[in-house]
């Protein structure tokens, strides 16, 4: 049986490399990738040195260190999720405004085209 430290480190490393690949292929923008890189790096570090979590737990009076880890993980995910909702709301409004403007501009282009066609017809008819 291998040490659990190796397992957690491998999980962290896999997470890190997936994010790295996603950014490289342009699937994930750099500014959003930063938070995920941080999560990947922290997972690797905590996997290698679980003593960190143990000592923080002792300092904060938590008797069962994994509980601290889960609480932190849940907090981080919650914040990220909230951020996504904000981002999505903002995007929805932007798309709405753009769509309305595109509809108006489309009509404007059509009107201008029609007026243009009319004009060229008028210039052709007299000659």
């Amino acid at each position: 049986m291998i040490s659990y430290r190796i397992t957690t480190t491998i999980i962290g490393a896999i997470l890190f490399s997936i994010i790295f690949a996603l950014v490289r292929r342009g699937k994930l923008q750099e500014k959003y990738a930063l938070a995920w890189f941080a999560i990947g790096i922290i997972t690797v570090i905590l996997g290698l040195f679980p003593i960190i979590i143990d000592s923080i737990a002792r300092l904060t009076g938590i008797t069962y260190p994994p509980a601290l880890l889960f609480a932190l993980a849940a907090g981080v995910l919650l914040i990220q999720n909230l951020y996504l909702f904000i981002y999505s709301s903002q995007n929805e409004l932007r798309i709405k405004e753009l769509l309305q403007q595109v509809a108006v501009l489309n009509k404007l282009v059509d009107d201008l085209r029609a007026a243009d066609a009319q004009k060229s017809d008028d210039t052709v008819t007299p000659s």
Partner: protein
Amino acid sequence: MRILVLVPVYNEWPHLLPVLNGLRQHFSDILVVDDGSDDKSFLVNLKNEGFEYVSLAFNLGHWGAIQAGFRYALQEGYDGAITFDGDGQHLPEGAIRIKPYVEGGYDVVVGKDNGRGTLPKKVCWWALNRVAGLEIQDFTSGLRGYSRSAMNHLIQGPFLSLHYQDLGVLFMAQRMGLKMIEVPTPMKERADSKSKVFPTVTSIISYLCITLTFILVRRP
């Protein structure tokens, strides 16, 4: 004063042409806003009949379509707009009643239908009015007049997150200090009594919750 009549339409093509022809006898400027209807072929019909339209690429909901109409009205230099449903529920006489109020300097003119609403609905409206600090009897009415300055406000910020032309719009309009009035207008009974906007109880509840949230977080 140039006033544009906005007719938002979502898949209601069969009713539309009679409505538009009725309107045309009283108003020279009419704009149909296609709210992302599935069948676009009808737009050709509109063009052949000489009606102007703008077409949204996908469905934004009643209010989103009206906002697109506002943008057009503002761009083309109209002094005001009247919104008019394309399903045959509104009568041209209603729009004619609204017009003088828009010309007379009111920013938001609500056309109210006195004969509408069951008792539970009325109780609900009364409660919402109290919450929003409004005194509007028929705030779901889609027959409304707006001034140019109102339109300028109504296409921005919080108004973009609204879905219906209803209480939320009036609440925000009041908070921005727009001059409002409610005018009695004649309306036709809907042929099919079922509401198209709210077909199910769930949709009504979700609408109420969203509207309440919108108002409560912004209440002074």
